[in-house]
Symmetry: C2
Subunit: 385 residues, 2 copies
C-alpha cells in the first residue's frame, strides 16, 4: 500500500530491506572476520548490460533505507528527495543500491550483532574496522548482485569518505565518483568532536565497557553525543534563523529545563536518536572516520594517478564541519592526478546538513553529471574513457 | 617567598585571596538572597584619590586569582601576563581588583556553599542568578573597598558579558569599559554548546539532581562538558597546528583509547578541570550566560544613550565561538548611542582562547586606552568627559 504522503509519480513507493551474507572478510588489520551480513535496498531495475548501477553510501547515522517507505510505516528513506522517478538518481534510468555499513546497527553485522562463537552480542569483541573495510564489504555485495562495474559511487560526509576509499582502492570497477561535503582525512577539530561524543557515551554508567545489551542502555551518553553532532551539522546562521532566542512556553519548576527552543530541539533530536542507534556502533564508526586517510600517508594525487573514473566534488559554503577547503584538497589531488574533475561549492546556509537539504542544486549537478557518464558509455561503450 | 618562575621585575609576586561578606543581595528575580561572600584579590595600591581602580572580571572557569602566585604554589593567576609592573594593567599605576563571581566555586557563594538554613550545600536550592546579579554583587565589593568610580571594567568572554552589564546598568560609576571577545546576547549556537555541556553533567548518574556533595561527584559528565568547551575555545587551524594527526605512542589494549594527540589533550584538560570546578556552578553560570541579554529586549543603543564612559571593544579573527560580528554589534550600538568607542579585531589564529594569549597586541591596546582615560582625569579632573 502506497502511503498518502508518497507521490506515486516520483516515489519508489514501498520497498523492502534485503540482506546478503558472506563467509568472511579480510580486514585491513589482517584479521579474517565473518560471517558478514549486509542489509541493503535497491531501487529501479538493473539493465541487461548491468551498466546502470549506482551505489549510494550513507553517513554516520544512515542506513540501507535511502528511499521510499517500508510497509506499514510513513518513514521516508534518508535521501528520498534524491532517489525516484525523475529525481537526481532517476530510478527509471538507474539501478540504485544502498547498504547499511559493516559496523552499523540497522541489519548489517556490527557490535550489537550476535557473535556466533559466544551466542552473545559482540560488544567490544567486534574488531576495529576501517572505512576501507566497510568499502571492501560493499564490494562483496556488488559482486553478489552480478555487477562488474558501477556507473557511480555517491555519498556525503562519512559517505564521502567511502567514496574516496572506492576511488583510491577500487577505481577499476567504478566509472565515476561523487564525494560530497567530505575530506581526505579528518582534521584535529573533526576528531575532537567525535572524541567528545565517544567520551560522552563511555562516561555513561550504563555503558559498562560496551556490555550493556542485557541491561539498561547508555541512552543519556549517546543522546549527548548526538546533540554535539547536531550542533556541528548546522551553521551559526541557520540556527539563528531556525530558533533565534525564542523561549519555549510553559516554564517548568526544574531549573535546568530546556528554556530556549534550540535546547528543546537538541534534546528531542538526542532522545529520538537513541531509539534507533546503538552506542557501540557510534564508537566504532566514528573511530573509523577519524582513522581514515584516503591518501595512506602519501600525496593523495599519487594514489589517484592513472585512474580513469570521472569525479564530481560538491561542498557547501556554510559547512564548517567539513569546510570547503577540504573539498578543494580533493579536487586539487584529482586534477594533479589527471582525473577529469568537476567541482561545485553550493552557496547554502544549512551548514553540513546541506548535503541532505539542497535538493534542487544538487539534483541539477548530479543529473547532468550522471547523464554525461552514462551517455558516453551508451554511445562509445566505454563511458567516455 | 617569591617563586623562581616569577620575575620580580614584572610580577605582583605572592598574593592572598581575601573575602568580603554582605548581608543580602536583591536578585533580578525579586528574591532577596544572602549572606553573600565574594572572594577577591587586589594588586597594586589604591591612590589617595581612589581614582586608579580597575576591575577585572573573569570568564566561565576563572576565579579571583588573576595574577601572581599563592604562598606555596607555582600556579600563576589566570591573566598574569596582563597584570603586574609594566604590564597592560600596570600595578605601579593602577589598583587592580578581581573577584570570583557569585555562583562560582572558588571562595564566593555558589551552589556548593553551605546554606545557613540547612547547614548543607545549597545544590539546586541555590537561586537562578543572572549576569546582572553577578555584577550587582561586585558593586557591593567596590563600595566596600571605598571606591566611588572605577577607572575601567575589563573582561573577556563571560567577563565581557559582565562588562556590558556594568555599562548598561552602572555607567555612572565607571569611566571606561573594555569588553573583549563577547556578545550582547548568546546566539542559538552559543546556547547549544552550553546546553550540551549541561546535558553531559546531568546525564552523569552521580549528578543526582545536584545532590552529590556527600557522594561521588559527577566528574565524567563535567569532564565531557569541559572538553566540548575546549574545542570551541580553539580554532580549526590552531588545532591543526598544535596537534596535526599525530598519534600518541604506546598503543594500549583497549579499543577506544586516546590514539590521537588531540584526544589525549582533551581528556587531560577535562580530567584536570574536574579537580578544580563544581558541576553545579557550571550549570548555573552557563545558564546565566545563555539568559543574558544586555539590551533587555530593546535596541542596545537605546540602553546606552547618554552614557559618558568610554569603550574599547576587542575581538579576534579566528574566534568562531564569539565571532567578530558580535563585537561589531556592540561597537555599532555604542556609536549609535554617541559613546566614544574604539574597536580592534586582532588577527589571531588562537580562536576564542586568543583573549588569554594575544598578550602583546592586547597589552598595547589596553595600555594606551587606560593611559588616555587616566591622563584626561589627572589633568582635567573629569576623565576626559
Amino acid at each position: 500500500m502506497i502511503k498518502e504522503k508518497i507521490n506515486p509519480a516520483n516515489s519508489v513507493g514501498v520497498v523492502k530491506t534485503q540482506s546478503f551474507t558472506f563467509e568472511s572478510l579480510k580486514l585491513e588489520s589482517g584479521e579474517k572476520f565473518g560471517p558478514v551480513t549486509l542489509a541493503y535496498e535497491t531501487y529501479g531495475v538493473l539493465n541487461k548490460e548491468k551498466s546502470n548501477a549506482v551505489l549510494i553510501v550513507h553517513a554516520l547515522s544512515g542506513d540501507a533505507h535511502a528511499a521510499g517507505v517500508h510497509e506499514g510505516s510513513n518513514d521516508l528513506g534518508w535521501w528520498d528527495s534524491f532517489i525516484g522517478p525523475g529525481k537526481a538518481f532517476d530510478t527509471e534510468k538507474y539501478f540504485v543500491i544502498c547498504s547499511n555499513i559493516l559496523g552499523g546497527c540497522k541489519g548489517s553485522t556490527g557490535p550489537s550483532s550476535i557473535n556466533p562463537k559466544t551466542n552473545k552480542p559482540y560488544a567490544l569483541d567486534f574488531p576495529l574496522i576501517s572505512i576501507n573495510d566497510i568499502v571492501n564489504a560493499q564490494r562483496h555485495l556488488i559482486t553478489h548482485l552480478g555487477i562488474e562495474k558501477l556507473l557511480s559511487v555517491v555519498g556525503g560526509s562519512m559517505g564521502g569518505q567511502q567514496v574516496l576509499s572506492w576511488l583510491a582502492n577500487h577505481a577499476d570497477i567504478i566509472h565515476s565518483a561523487i564525494p560530497i561535503a567530505t575530506t581526505i582525512k579528518h582534521s584535529p577539530q573533526q576528531i575532537a568532536f567525535n572524541e567528545v561524543g565517544r567520551q560522552a557515551i563511555m562516561a555513561d554508567a550504563h555503558w559498562k565497557s560496551g556490555n550493556y545489551y542485557d541491561g539498561p542502555f547508555p541512552l543519556k551518553g549517546l543522546a549527548v553525543a548526538r546533540m554535539i553532532g547536531h550542533i556541528t551539522y548546522m551553521s551559526d546562521s541557520s540556527m539563528a534563523e531556525k530558533f533565534g532566542r525564542q523561549k519555549k512556553g510553559g516554564a517548568e519548576p526544574f531549573k535546568f529545563t530546556a528554556d530556549f527552543e534550540v535546547e528543546g530541539y537538541l534534546r528531542y533530536r538526542g532522545d529520538n536518536f537513541v531509539k534507533r542507534f546503538d552506542a557501540n556502533s557510534y564508537l566504532y564508526i566514528t573511530k573509523a572516520m577519524d582513522n581514515f586517510d584516503a591518501s595512506g600517508g602519501r600525496p593523495f594525487s599519487e594514489v589517484l594517478r592513472g585512474i580513469k573514473a570521472k569525479v564530481m566534488v560538491i561542498s557547501f559554503k556554510s559547512d564548517w564541519l567539513y569546510p570547503a577547503y577540504q573539498s578543494k584538497e580533493i579536487v586539487k589531488a584529482c586534477k594533479l592526478a589527471g582525473i577529469a574533475t568537476t567541482y561545485c561549492e553550493i552557496d547554502s546556509n544549512y551548514g553540513h546538513d546541506a548535503f541532505l537539504l539542497e535538493v534542487e542544486e544538487e539534483t541539477h549537478l548530479i543529473k547532468h553529471f550522471l547523464k554525461k557518464i552514462f551517455y558516453a558509455y551508451e554511445v562509445t561503450g566505454a563511458y567516455g574513457e
